[in-house]
């Protein structure tokens, strides 16, 4: 999860991510950032996130993003 926080902090500086929810609903992660994040996650964890999984619930918190990564790693 630390790696995910690191990627997020690089993409959206000046935002606190640890323990936070509502990242999509609050507008912190918007479409361009989400696409950048997916590109980074694919590279970092050697996964291939499917477009069907690009829904707010999977990106609304660091925990949700981590669960998505684990789903593809599993």
């Amino acid at each position: 999860m630390d790696k995910i926080i690191e990627i997020l902090e690089d993409l959206v500086p000046d935002e606190e991510f640890a323990g936070r929810t509502g990242l999509v609903d609050d507008g912190v992660l918007q479409s361009i950032v989400i696409l950048n994040l997916i590109s980074e996650l694919d590279d970092e964890f050697e996964i291939d996130i499917s477009v069907g999984d690009v829904v707010p619930e999977n990106f609304d918190s660091v925990e949700a993003i981590w669960a998505l990564v684990q789903k593809y790693q599993g």
Binding site: Q30, S31, L35, N36, I38, S39, V51, G52, V54
Partner: protein, 513 residues
Amino acid sequence: MPIISNAFFLFILAGLLLYYLLPRKAQMPVLLVMNLLFYLSYGVRALGFLLFSICVTYAAGKWIGKLQSGVSREDRDAAEIANRKCRRILILAMLLNFGVLGVLKYTNFVFGNLNALGLFSLPHLDFLLPLGISYYTFQSVGYLLDVYWKRIPAEESFLRLALFVSFFPYMVQGPISRYGTLAHQLYGPHDFRWNHIRYGVLRILWGLFKKMVLADWAAVYADQIFARPDQYAGIAGFGVLLYTVELYGNFSGGIDIMIGTARMFGITMDENFKRPFFSVSVTDFWRRWHITLGTWMKDYVMYPLTMSGAMKKLGKKSKKVFGKKTGRNVPIALSNLIVFFLVGVWHGPTWGNIGWGLYNGVIIAFSIFAENRYRQLKKTLHINDKSRGWHVFMVLRTFALMNLSWYFDCVDSLQTALKMIRYSVTQFDPSVFLTVSAGKQGAAYTPVALVILLTGCVCLFAVSFLQEKGVDFHRVIARQPVMIQVTVCFVLLMAALMLGPMSAGRGFIYAQF
């Protein structure tokens, strides 16, 4: 049946009585019959196209759902075969849905351009453009993609799917809804709630005020100024501002009426506007203006396109050439341009609309690449981007950028648009307004009309500003004594009926898209 007519309001009243007085299991049939009657009021022929779309969407969705549920996840080969079949069905259904829209809406545009190249001499064909065809096509395709991506189960009942696709409040000009958020509301029983009726009435009256007073008066003047730019050169700049008022009042007013109507039936539709003229960037504007088209394009075009194999390859190559940060944005910027090209095409088969879409796309693509440098520049110049002054500057800058784009939207040629821009910068003489006719009421009424328009705009700004600060007007009004609630409704109704222009209103700009 125009939505601003006695017939429409009687239709709604009769529908509400049946909806809440008959047994609750009759609510869905009541809505279905209302959809059918509303659609038939625009002609019988268009109904065939709507039924075609419903049948294709229902059959394809059910077929995809059946194939997906018949395969276990462990059996990877069978899952792959089923997935390939599902993809073929999806593509076929999308081709059929978009094919009808494409032929009816764009054939003459394609023919006209081929003729202009001098290669052919193709005739102009008089196609029927069914009410709401692009709205129900987009809603249907969104449903199919959600089923294909397993976000929602396929609808088993034909009548339930028919209700979702044909729901009358979105037929005139949206909002484009998602099956996941709208469908269960359409099928579930609803108890009568005074709160829903009050919300609906207030929202409808506010929409009527925006449309019949602000948009219709603004249209009276904007139409004349843009039709005779040389004569009204001194107020060319006001012309585009009036067009902004017209467009926003017309579109958002119509949406208010339909969202209010749906709420009276206990159904909450997605919002289509979130105070767009408080946007701090063009990207932000598109999150606040025609929201449901923007999110549709994002979820069903932007994401799939950017995450496609070809775009991923492009991203990898770009990262090698331009570095990681810039390179990963190349496919995103390209997809964004394609999306805005499609947004332009959706707005109508003209090069002006396509240019307008690309104008927005280019600004957003530029901002994607410039973001990091922009951030550094602000640090270097010690700009506090959290300050009120900076916020106001960004709002005004975005407002100016969007107004600039509308010069090209509201005239019929590039030359006229450029001339209007030139006049806006070089000529300024507000007294010219006094020579513009107030429609049937003549030029003598213009000072009164302008006071009405200005006062209405101040009211709209004040309401929007307070909403932006988090004020929920419906809750505030709901807490007041009944007499005050009735007074608010009465004032809005009287304003809508008595303060608008006497000349016939323009109808809804976004209808028949």
